[in-house]
Amino acid sequence: MSGAPQLIEAVLLVSARPVGLGALCSATGLSKEEVSTALAGLGERYSPENSGIVLRNVAGGYLLSTNPACSSAVERFREEARPAPLSGAAHEVLSCALYLGPLTRGEISRVRGVNSDAVVRSLLERGLLAEVGADRESPGSPALLSVTDDFLVATGAASRDDFPPLDSLVGPEELARVRDRLTPAGEGPPTHSPEDAL
């Protein structure tokens, strides 16, 4: 008879997607407590220091993946190159969707100050963004975009709460500096360009 860790290990091995706690309980017939205890043990066994396989808690579930330290050997074996890194514009669009989403293409373009439709299209194709609804109050009910589970897996996040809050990303001094440069006391309109301000 197999124990809880073996059962969970086997289920995780055959899944290319994160498996949630509920799905693990359902597949193995174990209770939540038993699964959680077994996962803690597996986490130690499959840590980056001990194994070529690591247990990750991503996108609301658990996923066995190869250890990044072994990635070059894996990529040589599979004869496939790692996908090209995303562009700066793509990271900005994802940042908008993560922190301000769900939001429309127009809102993304407004935040970035440039048309972002092509970047959004490319991210939809890569499965990092998805249409999750429609803004019924805007003319034409444009689609609302948000980040996907694939995005959480690719960034190694268990949930959206894993990311630092937006307001913590820029210090108050830095924001004050932007305001000071744009609104000089006692003077008229700003003479600096936005690039100078940033």
């Binding site: 899944s15 890194p85 908008c96 190694g156 932007v178 301000a197």
Partner: protein, 239 residues
């Protein structure tokens, strides 16, 4: 003397950039069709690439250089115009922004950009993970169905199609049963050729007679024999 068709001087120039890899002319087409953001295209890298592969000994080099300089200048102009605020069309709104509003917008953008920087690091640090190669089929229970799209699809599927116009057809004056009886009578005397059967019939009767013969054959009341495709058809009593 033979005339060779004119060759486009940049037709064999291919580029290798992070955002695009392929023929230069396609790159221009993608930019013009808004399939590729001009902001994404590093123009300096593009020019450097051209200068690296440029062959001054090529007899077409002058044409190539001229074409490339023209298109590259157009890209620079397009990029600079896109980056600059459009004061003619929507400039009013931009100019009307107060310094405080502008500061607010820039602060919001600054946060998003910092978020983007942090995402870049997370993507980079997680890029080496390869999950199991087993891909499970999607579970029906996890499909997300938009009720509106479903009702739209149902409306289209169940809506009645427009009736085809039939005014060009004359009144139908014969039934399948009548011609089935005619065929049965003819078969009482032995095999009969289809051509003989319909000799005195009009086109409508001929067509219905053929349908009746097929129907009788399917029910086993007669046999159809035809020695070759499109050859003479004979109706025979069942064995």
């Amino acid at each position: 003397m033979t005339l060779e068709p004119p060759r486009r001087s940049l037709s064999d120039f291919t580029v290798e950039l992070d955002v695009y890899s392929g023929p230069y002319e396609w790159l221009l087409a993608l930019i013009l069709k808004d399939e590729l953001e001009i902001f994404e295209v590093p123009l300096r890298e593009l020019v450097d690439h051209y200068l690296r592969i440029r062959d001054p000994e090529d007899p077409n080099s002058l044409d190539r250089d001229t074409d490339f300089a023209g298109s590259a200048a157009a890209l620079v102009l397009l990029k600079s115009r896109t980056l600059s605020p459009d004061f003619e069309s929507e400039g009013d709104e931009e100019v009307a922004l107060s310094p405080e509003e502008l500061a607010e917008r820039l602060s919001a953008y600054l946060k998003i950009r910092r978020g983007a920087d942090s995402l870049r690091e997370r993507f980079a640090s997680n890029a080496g993970h390869h999950p199991s190669a087993h891909s499970l089929p999607p579970r029906p229970g996890s499909l997300r169905i938009d009720p509106e799209r479903l009702s739209g699809a149902a409306r289209r599927a169940f809506s009645r199609l427009a009736e085809p116009p039939v005014r060009h057809l004359g009144p139908i004056t014969v039934t399948l049963q009548e011609l089935a009886s005619t065929i049965r009578l003819a078969l009482a005397g032995g095999p009969v050729a289809y051509e003989d059967l319909i000799r005195n019939m009009n086109r409508l009767h001929s067509a219905v007679a053929f349908a009746a013969a097929l129907s009788l054959a399917q029910e086993g009341h007669l046999r159809l024999s035809q020695s070759e495709p499109l050859g003479p058809l004979t109706l025979e009593p069942p064995a």
